[in-house]
Symmetry: C2
Subunit: 225 residues, 2 copies
DNA sequence: CATTCAGATGGTACTTAGTACCCCTAGCGA
DNA sequence: TCGCTAGGGGTACTAAGTACCATCTGAATG
């Protein structure tokens, strides 16, 4: 208890100094001096100065990967929503730390760029997963997967940033709703009628609002297709 | 004619050396030596070593901004498509240079990150523009703008990368088609039925064609009701 | 023709991030 | 006691980027 780990002391010192004088005005030497440690030790624990601020992106990537891996074709969309929620929860867990990071990434271009690059790695995971899920030998349509992955991370970031700015009292509910919107967007209405549309194949559905519930209608719908 | 500008000689030397020994193995001193110029001159023309490879992102940003600015509410979507096409055409214009850059960004993480950060700036422009366009005092819905902007740049990048890899014989047609898909996605079906949906009275009919079979769609249909 | 002024180039010295390499010490099991 | 390992420390180096000043060249102007 008297000795927090060197790693933590470094992070602590770093954030304090970044608050005091700003990121660029703080050198690694300043940090190690404040932490009472050697410069070598700093780079043993963090690959770079930026790394102090984004320590566990790797873990987060694993988190997503794992959650997506444990799913089958039927539960794919739930897995995506879950993975997104997990990432959000991670940030919520960090609480104040996440907010301090946000003020840094908002003001320091280098850090913002770094953050964006990390997000792109999440997006890549989602893209590959969604592409597999959508995979259809007849019509591969990787563009659709690309679009959906982009929308997924955009939804997450949208809600996360709202929470970081203190605009969201219940970010978990918000992110669930946002994901519902995304999924809805990409599953409900399939791409209608490109001009040289290969009309004829596929399924034509007429959906209408009714007081009957869907299970009552299902047989009729099946008959139509 | 005998003397190409210093700027061009530097870029030329840089790309040659990057090809020969790789990006990280090439120092700025190597470049200036090869170009027969001084180190100072290099940094006068390019803010950083990475900048040699991405010289005109700023111009490209202006291009987008200008195209978006000259539009009204009715022509907004055409403006977005046009802007995207302009960016694509810029890369097509670069021809071989764009492809060399692609092999670099594909192999050097630092450069890939940099590229991604630039793309995020385009995305920001589109997001702001689309948010304005969608602006509706009653229901601001900035998430939808966020999603659409993400989809717009994802569509562009998808087609661009296909062309860079030599997979697209007619990228302009492809990007136009991709943009049609994006716009369709975000305009055709009005945001269907959030839970407390202000469902109107009367009859709501939505007709669409899809290649997915009904069982795939069923979860989404259930969610709608 | 001499002057001067602007713009582009060159050089030198400095700061800082990041790497390579080797040393030291504390603990711990054999 | 020996020897091993892990965590920390120090020194020296490379390379990007910045600050500042010096130099050259060409063109306009007296």
């Amino acid at each position: 208890m008297s000795k927090p780990s060197a790693r933590d002391r470094l992070a602590q010192a770093a954030f304090t100094l970044f608050d005091e004088r700003g990121y660029e005005q703080t050198t690694v030497d300043d940090i190690t001096e404040r932490a009472g440690l050697g410069r070598t030790t700093f780079f043993r624990h963090y690959r770079s100065k930026e790394d102090v601020i984004f320590p566990d992106h790797d873990r987060l990537l694993e988190l997503i990967r794992d959650r997506l891996a444990t799913s089958n074709h039927r539960t794919a969309l739930a897995a995506v929503s879950d993975a997104v929620r997990l990432v959000l929860l991670h940030y919520l867990d960090e609480g104040d730390l996440a907010r301090r990071r946000y003020t840094l990434t908002s003001t320091v271009p280098a850090l913002r760029d770094r953050e964006i690059a990390s997000v792109a790695r999440y997006q890549r995971l989602f893209r590959e997963f969604i592409a597999d899920w959508m995979a259809d030998p007849a019509e591969p349509a990787p563009l659709r997967a690309e679009l959906m992955a982009a929308a997924v991370v955009a939804a997450h970031n949208h809600v996360l940033r709202r929470w970081l700015r203190g605009e969201s009292p219940d970010p978990v509910a918000e992110v669930d709703e946002a994901m519902r919107q995304v999924i809805n967007l990409f599953t409900a209405p399939a791409p209608p009628a490109s001009r040289e549309g290969t009309a004829g194949s596929g399924t034509t559905i007429v959906a209408f609002r009714t007081s009957q519930d869907i299970d009552t209608l299902l047989p009729a719908l099946r008959r139509l297709t």
